[in-house]
Amino acid sequence: MNAPVLSRRLFLAASTAAGGGLMLAFNLEGEARAAGPAALSAYLKVSPDGKATIASKIPEVGQGMRTALPMIIAEELDVAWEDVIVEQALADTKVYGRQVAGGSMATTLEWDGMRRVGAAGRWMLIQAAAAKLNVPAAELTTEPGRVVHAASGRRLSYGDLAQAAAAIAPPDPKTLVLKDPKAFRIIGKSHVQTDTDAILTGKPLFGIDVRLPGMVYATFLKAPTFAAKVASADLAAAKAVKGVRDAFVVEGGTALDGLLPGVAVVADSWWAARRGRNALDATWAEHPTSAQSTASLAARAAEFAKAGAQRVARADGDVAAALKGAAKVVSASYDYPFIAHAPLEPQNCTARVKDGKVEIWAPTQNPEPGRALVAKTLNVPPENVTIHLIRCGGGFGRRLINDYMVEAAFIASKVDAPVQLIWTREDDIQHDFYRPGGWHNFTAGLDAKGDLVAWRDHFVSFGEGETFVRSGGMNSTQFPAGAVANYQHEVSVMPLGIPTGPLRAPGNNAFGFVIQSFTDEVALAAKTDPVEFRRKLLGEPRLIGPEGQNDSFHTGRMRGVLDLVAEKSGWGRKLAKGRGLGVACHFSHLGYVAVVMEVSVAKGEAKVHKVWVAADVGRQIINPTGADHQVQGSILDAIGSTLRQKITFENGAAVESNFGDFPLLRMSETPPIEVHYLLSDNRPTGLGEPVLPPAPAALCNAIFAATGKRIRSLPVGDQLA
């Protein structure tokens, strides 16, 4: 092995691969990881047969990172995509750095580093060719899979050079010359997902498909009221069911994201475990949150709205004075419900506990907190916990929290066999980490010219003191912050005994709805066209907030997508009676997105006829087919949740339980979606989340345009009846 090369961000080390060829180990955490052995790292392998094997470290949940990130390396390495093999890395943050499918951050964080890894491999293969051909490296170039000496017409395959390249010291990543994007052959062209063949033929791929020798199946019944203890359970009845091996009470704790109390049933088949569970006839102890309900939370929120905010999170100028002096004042209160993630693959995990070692096969978006939780709960050192990352049948943020992982590991620790825990759909809907509901009490002031002079948002959420529950917080930088002289962001919180967590574009999926809906109301009061009002509000192109900060907002980039979507949708055109166009634009996860929807309402139901999307996520779309998937999926996700989804609580427990009362959007409700990317001279950023937030407001603003009915409370449900 050569001396590893370091830069601030990227660590490279070359060695001979097992079976021959070049093994280029890399780590994007740079110096922080330099102390560890180079073999403990992500890798790019070039084999003597010319194949390039790339370790994909990010969990795959359908967002396409097992395809897009290897594409970046393959591009700069300059190999044909057909010659790329993608291997899933184990979960080990110490080795791979950040391994999270969340926050739409993979593209943002990995783009430059992945390019340099590929370019480093290419550079080493070129050096090997230069030595072999005895020509200066500067005379060499590459075509996919080959180094070319144009002057003599000689070509050497990567496979033939791989062994020699392994002996060459890796370059300083900073000195590498990256490809001119105009020369990209892979990036920017659509590539089918790496696992598609396996998906289409029903190969084992997902968490519930894991099979181990001697494996048994488990269900885990928890109290409807979160964290309530088991009062009684007929374990004998469960054990009497044919195929059931064991049934036992799990004491559990009180932390909502840890191991909760419940009853485990273990059997030879999952169906037997399910039947055993049905026989339990469990009862549950009273719990401090047993009285909590949707109605009680809403009543408390109404008290806050009346009494005024607990605290002021941001105050620019003097909102009270500006409102007093305003020519027109507009007030409205908005709210949105708790909603569930409901990925189609129910939560599940397979675990084997033996001799103090824990091995886990987990569909998870965020393995490391799961490892810590399992280690703590089972009282084993974290290094004794191995986690295999298994493709997730959907995530949407649900699998960022590893409660099902600790349940599987705990049950496996009580059973002398590997255990596969599978939740029922009812478990999934009733034991989610919900997108928290929230309330916004808005007041805006307009001057005589119809310009916005004051904006106040009293946000009512959950938490204690200045701490919010998970995903229940709100940043004070939401536009129009910084664009209006008098801006006040107020906060009130109440305690909550319901688990909450991130759902696709957390926070923003609700803020986009309330802010962009209220903006429409203000535009109406200003007697200004909704697109024109937003243009005025955005004003001159400028950055609001410090350079380099993730929530700094560029008005020019938003103006760009707003103008583009207005043009593409034919904004302002005459529509048939009963139809309306609605617009909204929102910034989140570094992406700028504007959406227009065309909607009609008949028999109390809104129908979306067409959607136009304009998105600015930087200068490069890496895999267009995957990008379109994320854009269209986000829009449809939002239409489904906006129209119908809510989780209601009674007696401290979720009322809805399956797709009958928590409906997902269906084929017949799916409108055509036109997607436009505005390529701006900015770094490429993620696309899994930022398209969702503007969509609910675009839909509700279109409903208003079609009917005159303003939707201020989600879901739309039967409000149009």
Binding site: V61, G62, Q63, G64, S190, V192, Q193, D195, T196, D197, I199, L200, T201, G202, K203, P204, L205, F206, I208, D209, R211, Y217, K242, D268, S269, W270, W271, R275, A342, P343, L344, E345, P346, R391, C392, G393, G394, G395, F396, T424, R425, T625, G626, H629, Q632, G633, L636, D637, G640, N658, F659, G660, L664, L665, R666, M667, S668, T670, P672, I673
Partner: protein
């Protein structure tokens, strides 16, 4: 009880309770894991298989009711020329996102095209509305069905 089922053309004998859903017979007893569990109450379509070519929800089909009917799952659908065409269209249009529902989608689409070789949009809606896709790949599912049926994309 012992039941002999014909699955993807081969006979299999399983010993289980009469009420065991075909889904769990396939997954846990026959190790055919391509058919997916999504809801358990016939609301999502992830478990769709064919009985004599007719799409059914395996999660609510007791093994005792299968009888002599031929069971076809995603693992065997390529043997059906329509199924193979559907898989091909799915691949060329890169239909899946997470992929979990797609076995059920392919089984429903194959049954649709076997019965209705050139379905209209309304017929596609009717046949596919019971198959939920949480990633909402519906626009591509529609395109792929049209492509597999030799109709120009809408």
């Amino acid at each position: 009880m012992a039941y002999t089922l014909t699955v993807n053309g081969s006979p299999h004998t399983v010993d289980t309770e009469p009420g065991t859903p075909l889904l769990w017979v396939l997954r846990d007893l026959l190790d055919l894991v391509g058919t997916k569990y999504g809801c358990g109450v016939a609301q999502c379509g992830a478990c769709t298989v064919h009985l004599d070519g007719v799409p059914v929800r395996a999660c609510v089909t007791p093994v005792s009711r299968v009888g002599a009917k031929a069971v076809t799952t995603i693992e065997g659908i390529a043997a059906n020329p329509v199924g193979a065409r559907v898989q091909e269209a799915w691949k060329s249009l890169d239909v899946p996102q997470c992929g979990y529902c797609q076995a059920g989608q392919i089984m429903s689409a194959t049954a649709l095209l076997a019965a209705t070789p050139k379905p209209t949009d309304a017929q596609i809606d009717e046949a596919m509305d019971g198959n939920l896709c949480r990633c909402a790949t519906y626009p591509r599912i529609r395109k792929a069905i049209k492509s597999a049926s030799g109709q120009a994309e809408a």
